[in-house]
Symmetry: C2
């Protein structure tokens, strides 16, 4: 982000989402997005490498926020404690104010198979990175992969609920509930 | 498959895999594959819609074999019992004789990002279909999605072990072990 233009990225992102949602992702060009907020295409490309980047440039930050929870956990934390810690810190990124953006973003992705595949790739990368972090802490296989995939699954389910119509709970609270459901289902009654 | 030419699909598939592995997937054409077993390109296209189909045409059968286990389970089976039943029947498809083919296929996929994405799509479709089957049996959300994703994750981990160098256990046995690990980790010590 260009420091001398505070808010430009955010304005471009908001305009892009509106155009993607109303006119279609494929039909929207970088010039359209820039023009919608009175900027040039060249300015757009100072902020985003392409229009897809508008939808996916938070991936690095998302991964880091999950990893931060794992790093901060006690040395003797069990794999599922690490999953819980990763979800606590990862979901904290999604403030209530972000929900309308996330809803709009998802509606754009749901209508475009190539974006759906990019999103699957992103989630699979998140799980792989969490798995690496768990193995680096000494969690053996297959526990590390099982735990990492569980974190990604719980996050995905919680996220879908979070952006649901009328949902008001925080993503963190929803993720806690879904994780509790997983623990009850897998370890308990099942 | 054309009934009047028993074994042709299998011969084409084996030739395709060898060519993909030795010359590269992108570099191999349908004509190359057909030529390697003394057949015409036209014959190839009677068996496969394109060369990618050689790697992915078992998807329908894979899904059906997972669903068969769910259908056969008692009405009062808990979600994790349904996961276990789906894994038992789904993994039974992978006889020991199939292991060399599966290894070669995976080595081709591992070297090609577009095929990796197709494989992710396949696994995500498997989880979605299992989830549908569980919901149709009355399993509520988020249990149905958690169980379906767990089945897919356990299958993926078990499959990776099964095609590992020197591995001799059956895929069914490995999947049982991985599922037991998940149950211990999620419900127990974690």
């Amino acid at each position: 982000m260009a420091r001398w233009e505070p808010g430009t990225s955010e304005r471009l992102r908001a305009a892009a989402l509106e155009l993607f949602a109303s006119n279609g992702y494929e039909q929207t060009t970088a010039a359209d997005i820039a023009g919608a907020v009175g900027l040039t295409e060249r300015t757009f490309f100072r902020h985003f490498s392409d229009k897809r980047e508008v939808l996916f440039n938070g991936q690095e930050q998302l991964i880091e926020s999950f990893l931060a929870g794992i790093s901060a956990a006690p040395d003797d934390a069990a794999p599922m404690d690490l999953v819980a810690a990763a979800l606590e810190s990862g979901t904290a990124l999604f403030a209530h104010e972000r929900r309308p953006f996330s809803r709009l973003r998802q509606s754009v992705i749901d209508r475009n198979p190539a974006l759906q595949e990019r999103e699957r790739h992103k989630m699979s990368g998140l799980a792989a990175t969490i798995g690496d972090a768990l193995r680096a802490r000494g969690v053996p296989e297959p526990a590390a992969t099982l735990a990492a995939e569980s974190a990604s699954t719980v996050f995905g389910i919680a996220f879908t609920q979070w952006i649901g119509d009328g949902e008001t709970r925080s993503l963190t609270d929803i993720a806690r509930d879904v994780l509790a459901e997983l623990r009850g289902m897998v370890g308990g009654r099942g």
